[in-house]
Amino acid sequence: MKRVGKPWFFVVAALIFALAYTSFFGVYEQNGDLQTTIIRGAKDIRWGTDIQGGVNVIFGPEENIDATDTQIDSAKAILEIRLVSSGVTDYELYADKDNDRLLVSFPWKNNDSQNVAGTIKSLSQSAELLFIGGQPSSIQITYNEDGTKTVTDANGEPLDVVIEGKDVKRASSSTSGEKNEIVVNLQLTDSPAEGEELSGSEKFAAATEKYLNQQISIWMDNQLLSAPRVNSVIADGNAQISGSFTVAEAKTLADNINGGALPFKLVTIDYSSVDPTLGTDALTAMLIAGIIAFSLICVFMIAYYRLPGFVACICLLGQVAGTIAAVSGYFAVFNSFTLTLPGIAGIILSVGMGVDANIITAERIREELRKGKTLDGAIKAGSANSFSAIFDSNITNIIVSVILMGVFGPPDTVWSTLLTPFLWMFGTSTTGAIYSFGYTLLVGVILNFIMGVAASRIMISSISGLKFMRTRTLYGDYSEKKKQELSAAKAVKEASEN
């Protein structure tokens, strides 16, 4: 390895500072009142419910009901609609089809004290699927005391409900016709629902006759799903909704309609909620502790290892910044990641490993210098000899992080597929908290190779080319200085004796 060119130290350091600045503070574009995020900063990090406060719920069908995969998909679609319509956008929602479980977690908004029971109930209540003649701009559902309901538009005018969730047998998406157009197939019931006189097919036949060449709008919990136009009278109970759907749109609509026709109720199996005030304290404490700990490490590294210590501090800054960028998503187009308390433990572990990598290299350089090697020779040998130790210990941590991401990650990821042979006895239930640990550790280890190994070596090699940076004491070798001091003392002694 030839000595790296002198400018490289400044290039790498500048890149690290740029990364640190942007990942801590973010880059935003102010356009009038509208702020668009270009690069997410630390304040855009999505904190886990254990830090920020929030709710974790596991829903499942009522006891003794074995739901099909399609039904679980529909239930998931309903929860999604409800979360979005109640203004929760940063939720996590997973379906565990093996165990018929739906896992939801979302943070509280605006630090308000929230009504846990109300929130959970409004998520899991039976979905209200309504097909209404015409297309009102909004609908209001009022429940009467005798169990019936009245549906009105914004002005209180009653609306014509043609069919409801219980009249729908199932919905599915498929392609149809010569053009392979994507459509949603609607199958209606053949026999009347409990307490009804007409079957879904019969009601729909009458409705399509009444609203021929007009629209029938489909609503779920006050949300408009679709408003197809009736092109012909449908008497056999098999309707097709067409439009320029994408495959995903068609599936969502079918899932939503099925959700309204779910034959079972969702019940709460597990739940936990943490008050937001509890979390904010934890966050401030962690931030303060992080800053103090980082400063302590920097002071120690520079005091003890001098120049390599100084380089190590820049690299560690890069590692912390890189981890934050990987958690926040950095560029606005990337997905961000939820950071939990165990996730912070993962960051501590990987920063610790980063400190260690720098210490190992600095110690090795010092050792080679003491053996009497030249500065360039010592840097070269020190870097080369310390690599295998850093490599092996970091690989073992990659093993840990991949296992964690597989065991506790959401289903259908590469990691969990890899581990299926070991986890066949368990469901795919997920625990975001520990998954977060695996993720931050994996990112940290990768950054360790980029920052702790590559960047640190380039910088040390490059900076050692500067003339005033070539004093051996700057690298922790005091043997020559001591020798000089000794001979100076000797000379003084001899002089005084004479």
């Binding site: 596991i58 008050d275 295998s388 093993i399 520990i434 550790l441």
Partner: protein, 347 residues
Amino acid sequence: MVKSYVNRKEYKFLENRKTFFIIALCVIALGIIFNIFRGVKLDIKFTGGAMLKYSYALDDTVSASDVSASDYMKLDKTKVAALVKTVTEKDSTITIAQSASAESGVKNTVTVAMGDKNTISEDTGEVLAQKLTEEYPKVNFSLIESNSVDATTGSEFFGKCLVAVALAAVFMIIYVALRFKKIGGMSAGVTAIIAIIHDCLIVYFTFVIFGFSIDDNFIAVLLTIIGYSINSTIIIYDRIRENRTIMGSKATYAQLANRSLNETLGRTINTNLTLLAAVLTIVIVAYIYDIRSIITFAVPMMAGVIAGAFSSMFISNALWVTWREYRDEKLALKKAQSFVSGKKSKK
């Protein structure tokens, strides 16, 4: 032979290895005794059960000068438990705590825990808050945490955690065994894992001694310490691997390990000191802010860092030396025996 280039004293770590083994075993024995007497608390996340936590404060209408203000705030555990029983028809353990923190002032909390696989419905928290306010009209209660975990999901989560830790250990043994073939792969792998088991036990005992309940934080700490400890052990093994080439086959295992330990001593001390300083900072700040969730993972982590430093210096490589010496003796014995028997058969 390479002359020692450092004119420093070489510490003789391996001469006293029996003492270190005994120290480690004593600490573990002490932990087990603690475990027997104090028992271990599994969190409801693993066992299933329910927990409600309220913070409470004097109502605004009560003036600070009210002489009986402190009486209003006195909650009675049995009364609270009775209220819980009327609401949920279940038995519960009530903990009433007052904690002062510099940041958020005095925090009064009352915790209702229901073990024995009891779950509660999501509105229990609010209903109970109402009942509490009826009983103590001058006090405001607000629900700050609530948890209800089904027993099956709990035990499944626990099982997954154990499988994750076991899988990590197995894959590490395989990796270390492959990478350190030169110094006897299997012996290196297994002794590294023994050191890790030691560290995990220390972390576990810290949870037991401080009475922290075993939850997913415990698993996170365990995995962090496993990462640190295997890292430290590997760095020493890496030196042994390197010194094997430098010192040649004449050097004894003890000499080899001792030289490697001395050469990596600077790294061992400095890395562990920085780590300890960092974790200690977290403990202190978390203590000042009174954040229990952070304390329960930072304190055991600190114990784990110390245990990891100890085990990587005095246990894993000392065991490795013992293992290799024993194996060589056995091999020599076998050789001698086969030599003897060979002679016999010739006769």
